[in-house]
Amino acid sequence: MSHPTDNARAYWRRNLTYLAILLSIWFIASFGAGILFVDWLDQFRIGGFKLGFWFAQQGSILTFVVLIFVYVRLMNKLDRRFDVHED
């Protein structure tokens, strides 16, 4: 058949929603906090770090790691809910 089932289409739409949310956070933590707003954020402090500097050299990377694990959790649940899981 050339048209996806409603189930597959709904699954894909939900997947795209997750992607939009997670990639927005990805962008804000790296390009936002680490580059575009870095000087403004530097007025705040976290321990001995200026906040913008911390995001540029630590916080963005930590956010990336967390994002992937959140995505994995969300997708594993989604696979089951739409009955497209592999096992």
Partner: protein, 549 residues
């Protein structure tokens, strides 16, 4: 035992381990040779990906690079990690579901076009060769610095080792040696970092230690005092920082030797989680590097600036012999003056010293120095092997099986794969001994081209059912020509204007791959809108790869 003996012992043991693994994991079929039989556990794949990813440059040069760039060093920290989010969310699971051996195979099938596959093969080969030459050179340099053998002999030893496990074991051999290499390299990186962190901040966790109150502020103050910019201030224009970071991220997600790792796990869900493990393992080193940068720079300035030369510590004179530190007493007062002003500055410091000299600066035992040598070698060898495999797969699977002799048997294809791997090792070794002049600038090239060609082609292939062969191919060619043209122009044709004033919108050649990616997408959408959509069976294929089952 002295440093030399320890280094030989530890490096020898690590090599014996890699060869032992290679002998145990010989590949018997093309499926095993190309993707390790598709049976690698996600955790092992994560470690192998991390070792594959972190090159000699990450291990030896990155912390030093950052310590001279200050905050702007974030382009490498974010750029070489953020791409894994894109890989995990946008590419890896779908490519795993597609289930072929190579990136060109995906591009060729999705765009039902032989031309598309050939464009992809040429890109894959070019990117991988650029990259691998630098790795073999890195092997030679580690050998010459730590073991006092010639660079050439070092390269040859490295070639023999890689040859043994890449040619015998293919992806299967490479994967399990990379797991071992990750363990060696991360241990070697963390031990000195932890000790230096304790020495300077009383905190064993470098990531927290370098944020202990006052440390970074002190470095800011010291830098300004010597005439440098404050460490935490940015020197580059924000748009250039943005473009370089984006180009490195998009390039990471488009590099064939990284993508192919996700073909080795059994299932789609394994592809997702193994990208997570990979980034976690990479992040251990990448969050430590900026801490090492701050420790090493603070320590260096405090120790050597204004120091009487005849009272220099032992490590200073040791590394002077290797010419990584050079002191010229311009005013003949016997005092080392380190300033931002080239006219009065008396000290030349190679950035690699920041990692290489760490164990001595922290007065760690001799075996730690041997460990750092083994770690640098593990980083260089693991990356070289991953790249060589992409080269051999592209030749035997995409070129020979896919084009020249489609009818060859599985056994013959496997033989070709081994021959191609062997040939690639020799060629890479040749470039390691006789590095072409362009190698230094060409890492930017590799990332720029991957960002401007593979990344958009694969992304659109998954997320746009309407994207057709005409659009994708013209997009790839436009992105490639634009990016390569810009880099070649500023490197060869007009090097005098290779500066922020000469660049378009202040974007350096390092960051132009980001613009190339945008050019690719714009052209791809424009052309595909004017040409017919792909056949229904191609659209069905796209629908199939979007769901795990």
């Amino acid at each position: 035992m002295d440093i030399q003996a320890w280094t030989f012992l530890i490096v020898g043991l690590s090599f014996a381990l890699y060869i032992g693994i290679a002998i145990r994991s010989r590949a018997g079929s093309t499926h095993e040779f190309y993707v390790a039989g598709g049976g690698v556990s996600p955790l092992a794949n994560g470690m192998a990906t991390a070792a594959d990813w972190m090159s000699a440059a990450s291990f030896i040069s990155m912390a030093g690079l950052i310590s001279f760039m200050g905050r702007d060093g974030a382009v490498y920290l974010m750029g070489w990690t953020g791409g894994y989010v894109l890989l995990a969310l946008l590419l890896a699971p779908y490519l795993r579901k597609f289930g072929k051996f190579t990136v060109p195979a995906f591009v060729g099938d999705r765009y039902y076009s032989h031309t598309a596959r050939m464009v992809a093969v040429v890109c894959a080969l070019f990117i991988s060769f650029i990259y691998v030459a630098g790795q073999m050179r890195g092997v030679g340099i580690v050998f010459s610095r730590f073991l006092n053998v010639d660079i050439e002999i070092g390269v040859v030893i490295g070639m023999v080792i890689v040859f043994l496990y890449a040619v015998m074991g293919g992806m299967k051999g490479i994967t399990y040696t990379q797991v071992a290499q990750y363990c060696v390299l991360i241990f070697a990186y963390m031990v000195p970092a932890i000790f230096i962190s304790i020495m300077l901040t009383d905190n064993p966790v470098p990531q927290i230690g370098f944020g202990s109150p006052g440390l970074i502020d002190k470095l800011d103050g010291l830098s300004v005092e010597l005439g440098f910019a404050a460490y935490t201030s940015g020197q580059r224009h924000w748009l250039d920082v943005f473009a370089i970071t984006a180009a490195l991220m998009l390039g990471t997600a488009g590099l064939p030797h990284v993508i192919v790792r996700f073909f080795t796990v059994p299932k789609v869900r394994d592809a997702r989680i193994s990208a997570g493990y990979a980034l976690l393992f990479i992040a251990v080193l990448y969050t430590t590097a900026p801490a090492v940068a701050v420790f090493a720079r603070t320590n260096l300035i405090e120790t050597v600036s204004g120091m009487r030369y005849d009272q220099a510590p032992a490590w200073f004179t040791n590394w002077e012999k290797t010419r990584l530190i050079q002191f010229t007493d311009k005013d003949d007062d016997g005092i080392v003056r380190y300033t931002a002003d080239p006219a009065t500055n008396e000290l030349q410091i190679d950035r690699d010293i920041m990692v290489l000299a760490n164990p001595e600066i922290a007065a760690l035992p001799a075996w730690v120095i041997g460990l750092v040598a083994a770690g640098g070698l593990a980083a260089a060898l693991s990356t070289a092997a991953g790249l060589l495999l992409v080269i051999s797969t592209s030749v035997s699977h995409d070129l020979i099986k896919g084009t020249i002799r489609p009818g060859i048997s599985e056994k013959a294809e496997l033989r070709w794969a081994r021959v191609a791997a062997g040939g690639a090792v020799i060629l890479a070794g040749y470039f390691g001994v006789n590095p072409p002049g362009f190698v230094a600038q060409t890492v930017a090239f590799a990332f720029g081209l991957a960002a401007a060609s593979f990344f958009p082609a694969i992304l659109l292939g998954i997320f746009s059912k309407r994207m057709n062969a005409e659009g994708a191919i013209s997009g790839m060619i436009a992105g490639l020509l634009f990016t390569a043209g810009y880099i070649i122009w500023f490197t060869y044709a007009d090097p005098t204007s290779n500066n922020p004033e000469g660049w378009w919108f202040g974007i350096s050649p390092e960051g132009i791959g980001f613009v190339g990616m945008l050019v690719n997408m714009a052209v791809a959408f424009a052309i595909s809108a004017k040409t017919p959509p792909p056949e229904p069976h191609i659209q069905e294929m796209v629908e199939r790869i979007r769901v795990p089952r």
